[in-house]
Each structure stands twice: as structure tokens, then as C-alpha cells.
């Protein structure tokens, strides 16, 4: 599917927000198209939730314009909000009502939603077994699913999910990811915020990276990754000789402090003698030839995908992620 050809569902143009005397959001612009999963990535406190609140008219931008399906969110709220389903922060539902009563409550606020539609979304999120129980008895995962059910109720064109995997167990996270992919395939534009970079990598087609209220980059997740260099891990015997050979190669650069550039789970699986280099992956086989020719045993060669974490660290020059 050619995503460029799809219609623009959400358009954010030069949005700024001042709260009190402080500018919280500085000039944010991006577009989200139908059928794509758009990631909104940034550390906590970067302005993700503030931006999301502006998208759904909970707060008004100080300047700039937000359009959903061609309607200005702040001037034509009713038309614009009809196209949006959203969960802002946690899916807070009325805990003294049952799941079904909650959905009925929200259905009454929008014309054209009958019991059949409610049943449909309940089936979609697979909550049918517990839907007539009080929400106060629900687990976090069930509340998250009920939240999505209420967001889907009005057949939106844009789904906004704020940290949708927050608090879910690994199985729940996998299910949620599958579910979001499925919704996007059906033509929905999905806007997902997260502070978890791996989450965005696994889920999103495009991403906007935000820090301290400023957009650092907007683009395809793959392109952003291609822009940064690869790391290769070598396990050689004897290690010292191997390292000397690698150092001499002009297309290869030894990384002295691997803990700065690699993920914790990669570091944990690495042997203590391993050598980390930065080089283009295409040159790996030439380097192996040289090593073998010099009588060095090559036990393992391992290419590491750069993570958005690294990307992020490069862009923000070391501001912490959490």
C-alpha cells in the first residue's frame, strides 16, 4: 500500500502552547495519513500528553492550527471530534458502572450508535465475557481494552492512544500491538504516543520525536534508522591479535565504551572479550577474510541494529530518556 497517496486525517500546523508564563510546546507540525501508525516519541514531560490534549480539544493551542478530517478542532469541535476516538493518559471509566453501561453512556453522546454497534466493539476488543461486570473489578488490561472499545464506538477515522501498553504484561503488550496493526490495516489512522523506543520500532510506520516541547525529527522509522551507522560485535580468538587487525582496517572503527551505544540486553549477552566496532555492514565479509587469513578464529560476528534510543541520544545530546 502506498501510504503517501492516502488522505491526510490529522494535520498539525505550527502549534504552540503557553501555560502560565512558560512555553510548553514550541512550534510542532506533522501530518498523519489514513492507514498508518504514527508514533509520537519522547521522554516523560516532553509535552506528549499536552499535545494529545490539544488534538482532542481538551486544551486550546496558544497559536497554530489542528485539523482532523478537514475540520478545525478548536472551531468545529463537534464535526472534528466525531472523527476521533481517543484515550488520553489512562482509560478512566466510571468504575461504579459496568463496562456495558459505560459504553451505553458514551454511545448516548453521539447519534447513530445502537446496541448492535456496542456489541460489535465489545467483540472487537474481546471483552464479552466480563462486559456486564462493574469496571471497578476490571484489571488494568481490561480497562485498557474497554478504553479502546469506547474510542472505537463512533467509527472514528483517527484513533489516538496515549501510551497504550503502559502497565500491560508482555502477553498483553503483544496482543495490543497485533490489535493496533489490525486496525491500521482496516484503514484507520492510529496515533500512538510512547516513551518506549522499542515499542515505536515494533509498532509504527512513521514517528515524530519530541523533546522539551520541540520536534526533533519526523520521518519513516526505517529511514531514521538507516541514517545512523551500524555496530558489529566480534568474538575472536585470540582476541588481542584480532583487535589489532581490525584497528588497521580503514572502514572499521573500534568502540571503546560499548555500554554507551548498546542496549542493556545486548550487553548482557556479550562475551567479556567481545570487540565492538562501528562499520558499514557491507564491509563485514571483507573483514572476516582478513582475520581468517591472519589465522584468527572467528567465533561469532553479530550485527546490531541501532535502536531509536541511540538515535534519540544523538539528537538530544544526552538528555535522559526516563
Amino acid at each position: 500500500m502506498n501510504k503517501q497517496a492516502q488522505e491526510i486525517v490529522l494535520s498539525v500546523q505550527h502549534v504552540k502552547k503557553k501555560i502560565g508564563r512558560k512555553w510548553i510546546i514550541h512550534d510542532v507540525s506533522f501530518d498523519v495519513r489514513a492507514g498508518e501508525i504514527f508514533g509520537f516519541l519522547g521522554p516523560n514531560g516532553a509535552g506528549k500528553t499536552t499535545t494529545i490534549r490539544m488534538l482532542v480539544d481538551l486544551i486550546k493551542p496558544s497559536s497554530g492550527r489542528i485539523e482532523v478530517c478537514g475540520y478545525d478542532v478548536n472551531r468545529q469541535q463537534e464535526q472534528a471530534l466525531r472523527c476521533i476516538g481517543s484515550i488520553v493518559e489512562n482509560p478512566e471509566m466510571y468504575s461504579y458502572l459496568t463496562g456495558w453501561e459505560n459504553l451505553e453512556h458514551f454511545a448516548r453522546m453521539q447519534p447513530g450508535i445502537d446496541d448492535q454497534r456496542i456489541q460489535e466493539v465489545v467483540d472487537t476488543v474481546r471483552l464479552d465475557r466480563r462486559i456486564h461486570d462493574k469496571v471497578s473489578t476490571y484489571s488494568l488490561g481490561m480497562r485498557q481494552r474497554l478504553g479502546i472499545a469506547q474510542a472505537l464506538l463512533g467509527r472514528p477515522k483517527l484513533l489516538i492512544l496515549d501510551e497504550p501498553t503502559n502497565g500491560l504484561d508482555p502477553k498483553g503488550i503483544k496482543e495490543m500491538r497485533q490489535f493496533i496493526h489490525q486496525l491500521a490495516e482496516e484503514g484507520l489512522a492510529v496515533f500512538v504516543s510512547s516513551h518506549l523506543l522499542s515499542e515505536i520500532q515494533l509498532l509504527c510506520d512513521r514517528v515524530a520525536i519530541i523533546s522539551s516541547g520541540r520536534l526533533l525529527a519526523v520521518g519513516e522509522v526505517d529511514e531514521l534508522i538507516a541514517g545512523s551507522s551500524d555496530h558489529v560485535i566480534w568474538d575472536l580468538n585470540p582476541a588481542v591479535q584480532g583487535k589489532r587487525i581490525l584497528q588497521k582496517l580503514d572502514y572499521c572503527e573500534i568502540v571503546d565504551r560499548p555500554e554507551d551505544v548498546l542496549d542493556d540486553n545486548v550487553l548482557a549477552g556479550m562475551s567479556p572479550d567481545a570487540i565492538v566496532t562501528r562499520m558499514h555492514a557491507a564491509h563485514t565479509s571483507r573483514a572476516v577474510e582478513r582475520l581468517v587469513g591472519a589465522g584468527v578464529q572467528v567465533r561469532e560476528v553479530h550485527r546490531i541494529n541501532p535502536t531509536l534510543e541511540q538515535l534519540f541520544l544523538q539528537m538530544t545530546e544526552g538528555e535522559s530518556i526516563e
Binding site: 471530534l81 466510571y94 458502572l97
Partner: protein, 329 residues
């Protein structure tokens, strides 16, 4: 307007499902029997003392009050209050009408006279105080306001639901007070005459406008006034609930205002501009009974106007804040 009805239905469901209205009923069902019992005891005592002759009893009360007038230790304000009381009681005596005949209807009438300025507003606050702040405390306001519905419609639906439940509370107070006290005092008494129309001139009572009203009519007049007070207090609590994020703060603010009103009413008179405060104007039924107003120059129409202006301002503030405010939490 057509899409307002489902919104009002939503708000009513939420009030009922949160069991707020049941709490109100429960409070009434516990407290009214207590008041009934107290009333029964005092009726028993005076029956023993005066051989169940109410004329004797009334005469005794008039004499007691007259005696206290000559005492130097009684403040002037109390004396004026007692003078007026004496004149009214004499009027009842002259017309051979027992002002305190024990029956369910009289009890209800007296109970509402006492309940109008604090007890009923308190019951209404049980619903009004968290009608908006409750949604903010739990975060559900975000779900509510991201629907394709204008904010003023959401707020209006809450206001309409509140007025409906205020009316229901006033009616239930009447019904519960009558039904429970009737068990003790009997259910008769609707056609007893009650005098109203006493005009207070200085420390004298002008009797020219006094006329007898059947008690059921009097009760209806009272009901209207209690309802009016309830709606006005409800709207003020509604505004506070919009302005304040936490329900606890919202309740404390309204309670403080109401109790301050009760204290000011008792301290009375010297500070005359206090009469423009809403909380000293709540005791509307005392105008019917012909009691001395807390501050000179207050009349029924004055109090109705003051309450109405406060309530209207509260609604204007509530709507203009709610429709513009950024929802940050």
C-alpha cells in the same frame, strides 16, 4: 435540544448509580425519627404539666416571655424577638387556634422551618458538590469532553439533572417527614388554620394583614420557598464544583458559607450590609411565620431577589469557566 435529553439521562443514571440519592434518603430516614421522638417527648411533658390544655400552656409561655422582658440581662435583640413572639401567641389565643397542635402536618411544617437554612442545603450539596469536580477527580471528564458534544451542553445537562434531583429531595423531605411523624402524631391536620401575614414594624407586629390559611396551603407555600432555596444553593454548589478540582474542597467551601450564614443570622443586625450575602437570606419560611428578620430591612421579596441574583451569577460564572478552561489533569 433533541440531543440534550440523552445527556440528561446520562447524568441522572450517574447520580443514581453513585448512590448519592440513596444516601440522602438514608439520612432522612435516620434523622426524621429522631426529631419525631424528641417532639413526642416534649409533647408528653407539656401534657402532664398542663393537663393537655393547650390554652393554659400557651398562656404560661406568654407569661414566661413577658417576665424575661423586664430582666436587664436579656439583650435588646432577644427582647424584640420575644415581644413579637408574645404578640403572635396572643393573636392565636384570641382566635382560639392552637399553634402547636401535635399532628403529622404541623410537625412537617415546623421541621421544614428549621431545616430550610442548613439541613436541606446540606442534602442538596451531597449531589451538587461533586457533580463536576467528581468527574475531574476520577479523570472521567476527559472521556466526557472528547465526545462530539459542545461543552455547554454537557454542563447544561448536569445542571438540569441537579435541579431535578433538588426537587426530588425537597419532595422526599416533605413525604418522609409527614409519613414518619404521622406514625407518632397521627396523619390529620391538613385543614387546621395557620396565621400568616404578620408585618414587623420596629418591635411591634402589625396585625392588619394577618389572615388564616389552611395548613395544607401553608405547607405548599413553604414547599415553594424551600424548593427555591434548594435550587439557589444547588446552583452555588454547582459553581464551586466547577471551580474547584477536589470534591472535598468543594464541600468544605459550601459548608463554611452555610454555617457562616447561620452564625451571622444569630449575631444579626449591627452589620446591615451583610443582608446582601446569600447565606443570611436562606430562611425564607420565617417570613411566612412572621419572625423577626435577622437584619432590619429584609423582606421576603428582598431575600428572593438576593438569592436569585446570586444563583444567576453562579450559573454564568460556571458556564463561562467550564466552556473555556483547559483540562490539564
Amino acid at each position: 435540544m433533541s440531543n440534550l435529553l440523552p445527556l440528561i439521562k446520562n447524568e441522572c443514571i450517574k447520580i443514581i448509580k453513585r448512590k448519592r440519592f440513596y444516601v440522602v434518603l438514608l439520612v432522612l430516614l435516620v434523622l426524621v425519627p429522631m426529631f419525631t421522638y424528641a417532639q413526642m417527648k416534649s409533647a408528653e411533658r407539656s401534657r402532664e404539666k398542663f393537663n393537655s390544655d393547650w390554652r393554659l400552656e400557651l398562656q404560661q409561655r406568654i407569661t414566661d416571655n413577658e417576665n424575661s422582658l423586664s430582666s436587664d440581662r436579656v439583650p435588646d435583640e432577644w427582647k424584640r424577638y420575644r415581644q413579637i413572639f408574645i404578640q403572635q401567641m396572643q393573636y392565636y389565643l384570641q382566635h382560639d387556634v392552637n399553634p402547636n397542635q401535635p399532628n403529622g402536618v404541623t410537625f412537617t411544617r415546623e421541621f421544614l422551618n428549621n431545616a430550610i437554612s442548613l439541613f436541606i442545603p446540606l442534602l442538596i450539596m451531597a449531589i451538587a458538590s461533586d457533580i463536576v469536580s467528581g468527574e475531574r477527580t476520577t479523570g472521567t471528564i476527559k472521556m466526557l469532553l472528547t465526545r462530539p458534544v459542545k461543552r455547554w451542553k454537557v454542563l447544561l445537562s448536569k445542571l438540569v439533572a441537579l435541579i431535578m434531583f433538588t426537587s426530588l429531595i425537597v419532595v422526599s423531605t416533605f413525604v418522609i417527614a409527614y409519613l414518619i411523624s404521622g406514625l407518632a402524631f397521627g396523619y390529620k391536620g391538613f385543614d387546621i388554620p395557620v396565621f400568616t401575614g404578620f408585618q414587623i414594624v420596629g418591635s411591634d407586629v402589625d396585625m392588619s394583614g394577618v389572615h388564616a390559611v389552611l395548613q395544607w396551603k401553608y405547607l405548599l407555600m413553604q414547599g415553594g420557598l424551600v424548593w427555591f432555596v434548594g435550587v439557589c444553593v444547588g446552583m452555588l454548589a454547582f459553581m464551586v464544583s466547577v471551580l474547584v478540582r477536589s470534591t472535598a474542597a468543594s464541600i468544605v467551601i459550601m459548608m463554611a458559607a452555610l454555617i457562616a450564614g447561620n452564625i451571622l443570622t444569630n449575631m444579626a443586625s449591627a452589620w446591615s450590609s451583610a443582608k446582601y450575602l446569600f447565606m443570611v437570606n436562606l430562611n425564607l419560611t420565617s417570613y411566612l411565620a412572621g419572625n423577626l428578620p435577622p437584619i432590619e430591612g429584609m423582606t421576603l421579596n428582598f431575600s428572593l431577589a438576593v438569592l436569585a441574583i446570586w444563583a444567576i451569577c453562579a450559573v454564568i460564572v460556571a458556564f463561562s469557566v467550564f466552556t473555556r478552561r483547559d483540562i490539564l489533569n
